[in-house]
């Protein structure tokens, strides 16, 4: 069972753990051997280079068996960082070389992710943060005389602007990869047709086969749900029953959640945790229901095997005033102001409208948009 809340190592793939261990080990090693490193500058930039160097060397071991070329690239990168850390900084080329290596590594990571060869993970994101800070420090103007104050100011502006833009672009690309990828599927998506996991949607594992009994149970759940929520086709009935929109007014697909305490039976078709509507020009149209476990971390009951996988969301931001969905947390784990980052309990959607992905599949967004405009 996946953890209900995040721990320090949550979401780190096994082959990336040596990277994290390498980074920490490199920091400890330098700390212990600092007396013999007299020719080395041990400032924040130095420590950042040591960490990322250690991470890259550690990743060599994580990828050695399956991705030889990538493994060699990690090794070369890590050794280069360590060499730059150990070299004295009085050479004119030290800062340009370090800056180029840092920039090239960040760019390579973004390109690697954009082409689907690498999925964003916590070790990668933390390492990129480390490299972005290091790059910012490398770009700082140094060694200029007071007479060159103007040049110094220009370098400050360029360096600062570049740091800001690079951080934004790197974060945006990681986020895009994160949302488009299937980082947390754990192979489930291949067993559960029409379900796609993402960094914010974790699918619970299901058996890969569907027995006749499971098929019958799934059909029964759809039929019972359709009959039970039929009165809620009129949204006023839903509001009178205690359902409220979970996002601010607007249009699109909206979950109306039940504000009072969750029912003791999570699959009670008469009182599902939420009703899903698409807001059309003629008013809200009922698409289906969402069942939800009362307790976070508790796996939902198996109904139809691979047909009905439960899922939960990890990066949901809820605004404290108003209690509505205010966004999804960024790859850097940040939510909008006055919002809390929460992990939902297990959820299962049952679409009573003819969703092209089936009664339990992901909601077909294009189909929902067509309905919205109809």
């Amino acid at each position: 069972m996946a953890p209900a809340t995040s721990t320090l190592f949550a979401g780190i793939p096994l082959d990336h753990l040596p990277g994290l261990a390498g980074g920490v080990a490199a920091l400890l090693l330098v700390r212990l051997r600092r007396k013999s490193l007299r020719a080395t500058t041990l400032d924040a930039l130095g420590w950042l280079l040591v960490f990322t160097g250690g991470v890259h060397i550690g990743l060599t071991f994580g990828h050695a068996s399956d991705q030889r070329l990538l493994s060699l690239l990690f090794l070369a990168n890590g050794v280069a960082y360590m060499a730059l850390f150990l070299l004295p900084r009085d050479h004119w080329w030290w800062r340009p070389a370090t800056g180029l290596l840092l920039f090239g590594t960040i760019l390579a990571y973004v390109i690697y992710g954009a082409t689907g060869r690498e999925e964003p993970d916590p070790v990668g994101v933390v390492d990129k943060m480390d490299e972005l800070v290091a790059l910012g420090l490398v770009m700082l103007p140094h060694g200029l005389s007071p007479r060159e104050a103007r040049r110094r100011r220009v370098r400050w502006v360029i360096g600062s602007g570049a740091s800001l833009v690079l951080t934004f672009l790197t974060g945006a690309s990681i986020w895009a990869e994160d949302l488009a990828g299937s980082g947390h599927s754990h192979g489930v998506a291949t067993c559960a047709p029409n379900h796609h996991a993402s960094a914010v949607t974790v699918l619970r594992p299901v058996p890969c086969t569907v027995t006749p009994a499971q098929q019958a149970a799934a059909n029964r759940l759809v039929a019972e749900t359709r009959a039970a929520i039929a009165p809620y086709a009129d949204v006023r009935v839903a509001v009178a029953a205690g359902y409220r929109p979970a996002t601010p007014d607007g249009d699109g697909v909206v979950h109306y959640t039940l504000l009072r305490a969750a029912p003791s039976r999570p699959l009670d078709p008469h009182h599902p945790a939420a009703l899903v509507y698409v807001l059309t020009r003629h008013g809200p149209v009922l698409l289906g229901a969402m069942y939800q476990m009362a307790i976070q971390g508790q796996t939902g009951p198996d109904v139809g095997g691979a047909l009905t996988p439960w899922h939960y969301h990890t990066n949901i931001c809820i605004s404290v005033p108003g209690l509505f969905l205010s966004g999804m947390s960024t790859p850097f784990g940040q939510c909008p102001p006055a919002s809390l980052r929460i992990t939902t309990s297990d959820q299962l959607h049952v679409w009573t409208a003819p969703n092209p992905n089936g009664p339990f599949g992901d909601l077909d967004q294009a189909w929902a948009r067509r309905l919205e405009r109809a």
Partner: protein
């Protein structure tokens, strides 16, 4: 600058959601997020210009980030690696820098040192 870039990303996320949902509340939240993303830039520019108040503003900003980061990690138990580093360690380090050191980055990324030095 790094914090500003990260906060701009938050503002972008809310802005996209506000556009998709055509929501006034989310639009306001996006504007507030964008304004907060500018605070580190203002602090950095003012520090570089030698303005005394910039340190106070920076301390308040980092303190707010640190308190919300610690609450996120310890109270809400979102103690994953990225959140811990970005929302606790980074504001903590910057707060320490603002409280203890003069507003200069030289000790963080020192100039070329012909004879070499060992600093911690």
């Amino acid at each position: 600058m790094l914090q500003s870039g990260a906060c701009c990303l938050v503002a972008l996320g809310v802005f996209v959601l506000a556009l998709a949902g055509r929501s006034a509340e989310l639009g306001i939240l996006a504007a507030v997020s964008g304004a907060l993303a500018l605070v580190p830039v203002v602090v950095a520019v003012a520090l570089a210009a030698g303005r005394g108040w910039a340190r106070g503003l920076g301390i308040i900003y980092e303190l707010l980030l640190l308190v919300s980061g610690v609450a996120d990690v310890l109270v809400l138990r979102n103690a994953d690696l990225v959140a811990t580093v970005v929302n606790v360690i980074l504001p903590g380090a910057l707060l320490w820098l603002l409280l203890r050191r003069a507003p200069t980055m030289s000790a963080w990324s020192s100039a070329a040192s012909p004879g070499g030095s060992t600093r911690s």
